[in-house]
């Protein structure tokens, strides 16, 4: 009885300590939100308050009315949605071929993919810039969407899911006279739906947060996505920290929301496969 009691106390102490540490981890977020509601004059006061002395919502008005923030938002949304949809289509088809179909050269092609996955994307920026120049798509959203939909990481992720689907099911579909495309669309895809959700989550977070690609391939302010847009916004607002924080809050909000809703799936998928970098 006392030992049980002692264990219970210990559990509470560890819980409190861990949550204090966890609070320290999200402190930058709390500070960011709190500052975004402050008047500029209160930002650098010390001791700082997490609940603003005077609440000021005009920073958000500034973000959404002055400058190109709404445009950046729309661009990010556009690029992310098209990237995710394209990634989903091409990747699921390729992963189906790798996971379920037999054809000559499969192992060779797959080995090439495996080797290419190792190459950091940062190494390929310059050649991509040259190729896009030839194709005439530098400074268009296509320069962001095209590389996003050809992700080798996504293929590996979905291939794993597709391989775990029992072969009896696709055999049964074959006996029923279904072609490969119908088997893919009506048997494999529905059964692999947790894998598809994972892919959508990882692909959209990655695309939304992507910074280096828009930095290099876009030069027109009107085409900027949120990441480069936020940097531009910061530079043009100098020391208006409260306004900059309001911009930062707007930039992270969609991803944080997605994360909080799908936390379980995301954590499970990262635990098993990592995330694309």
């Amino acid at each position: 009885m006392t030992s049980l009691h002692k264990q219970e106390t210990k559990k509470w102490i560890v819980t409190v300590l861990i949550f204090l540490l966890a609070l320290l981890f999200i402190f930058p977020f709390i500070w960011m939100i709190s500052t975004s509601f402050k008047y500029e004059i209160d930002v650098m006061e010390f001791p700082f308050r997490l609940i603003p002395k005077n609440v000021n919502t005009s920073n958000y008005v500034t973000v959404w009315t002055k400058g190109n923030f709404p445009l950046y938002y729309r661009n990010s949304l556009f690029v992310t949605v098209l990237t995710v949809l394209g990634d989903l289509c091409l990747t699921s088809m390729a992963a189906y071929a790798f996971a379920r179909l037999r054809f000559r050269g499969k192992n060779l092609i797959f080995s090439c993919y495996l080797a290419a996955m190792m190459v950091p994307t940062q190494v390929l920026l310059l050649p991509k810039y040259i190729i896009f120049g030839k194709l005439g798509i530098n400074n268009t959203h296509a320069a962001l969407i095209l590389p996003g939909i050809c992700s080798i990481f996504s293929i590996f992720l979905l291939r794993q899911f597709f391989m775990s689907i029992p072969y009896d099911l696709s055999e049964a579909a074959k006996v029923d006279g279904a072609g490969y495309f119908r088997t893919f669309a009506q048997v494999i895809l529905p059964l692999a739906h947790p894998g598809l959700v994972t892919l959508i989550l990882i692909s959209s977070i990655w695309s939304w947060n992507d910074y280096i690609n828009p930095l290099i391939f876009l030069s027109n302010d009107k085409l900027f996505t949120l990441t480069v847009g936020l940097q531009r916004f910061q530079e043009s607002n100098g020391t208006n920290y409260a306004v900059i924080m309001a911009g930062a809050v707007c930039a992270v909000l969609p991803v944080i929301f997605l994360f909080l809703v799908f936390q379980k799936q995301l954590v499970a998928s990262i635990a098993s496969s990592g995330i694309k970098g």
Binding site: W31, L101, F103, P127, N209, M245, V252, G277
Partner: protein, 299 residues
């Protein structure tokens, strides 16, 4: 081995090629071809006006020039310092957090989400926030340091001796939760019966951690260390946003030098040579990971 394909097999093969084709074309154009261009461009001189047809083979000239390139040498040194500090510190923190979260505590999932939250956020937003948090005059971090009695709190990102320290702190905070989750998954595979046996022998929490948990997850731990090392060589976003490699050369790193040489100096040959260096480092680390994987799996 050679045999004629039956009609059904031939049909399957055609289907396989068709399903793969769209992605394969994209991968060729956007991954295989760029790899080839990078590899050849390291040995060539590129003329922007003439384009790809004006590429001239110059042997090892680009690589030789790196030896005298002060910025590159500084970047390599900084990157190595960054790697040898962030990797042990991040993985160490992640390991401790995972070990504690693996125990029974209340609200495990909420705590896990809180530690993981930085990793899903945009690095640009994080950099913007940290830039103000670490603001030398009146920023909250220095405010706390002064309150704790530190006489001359550091200038962080504008001080050449402290800028890297600020970036390292940021990196630990940003990635810790991510590695924690991978390690936590590894720990859940360590059989509970082992711990129970150790408890009967009177082992305390620390002894269990060192003698049961760490050896039990050594393959995962090894994987995490290699991935963390590879990722530390890819660092770029926060550097371009906060320090631009400065003050001086204090925080320039390999990817930043690739970016700067390629897109502000238009020195494509040198940029590709640095890309080669980065690629070699990553390939070596990956090879190490594959070799180690076989050796370290211990049950």
């Amino acid at each position: 081995m050679k045999h004629k394909l039956t009609a059904a097999e031939r049909e399957e093969e055609v289907a396989g090629y068709l399903f793969l084709l769209p992605n394969f074309l994209g991968t060729c154009l956007l991954i295989f071809l760029p790899i080839f261009i990078t590899l050849t461009m390291g040995f060539s001189q590129y003329n922007i006006v003439k384009g790809l047809s004006g590429m001239k083979f110059v042997g090892l000239k680009n690589f030789a020039s790196l030896i005298y390139n002060e910025r590159f040498l500084a970047a390599l040194k900084n990157n190595i310092v960054y790697t040898f500090t962030t990797v042990p510190l991040t993985v160490g923190c992640a390991l401790l957090l995972a070990a504690i979260l693996n125990k029974s505590i209340y609200g495990k999932e909420i705590a896990r989400a809180m530690f993981f939250m930085p990793y899903v956020s945009s690095m640009v937003a994080i950099s913007v926030v940290f830039n103000v948090l670490f603001y030398p005059n009146g920023g909250p971090v220095n405010g706390i340091l002064s309150a704790l009695g530190v006489k001359n709190p550091p200038g962080w990102f504008i001080d050449k001796d402290w800028a890297m320290v600020g970036l390292i702190i940021m990196a630990i905070w940003y990635q810790c939760g991510y590695y924690m989750i991978i390690l936590l998954a590894g720990m859940q595979n360590v059989p509970q019966s082992r711990y129970e046996a150790a408890e009967l022998d009177g082992a305390n929490a620390w002894q269990k951690f060192i003698h049961m948990t760490v050896p039990g997850i050594s393959p995962t731990l090894f994987f995490v260390i290699v991935i963390a090392t590879i990722n530390s060589f890819k660092v770029f976003d926060q550097i371009n946003i906060i320090t631009k490699g400065g003050p001086g050369y204090a925080t320039t790193v390999l990817v930043y030098e690739i970016y700067r040489n390629a897109f502000t100096e238009y020195n494509f040959g040198v940029a590709s040579a640095i890309a080669w260096v980065l690629l070699l480092i990553v390939v070596l680390l990956t090879a190490l990971q594959w070799k180690g994987q076989k050796k370290w799996v211990n049950y």
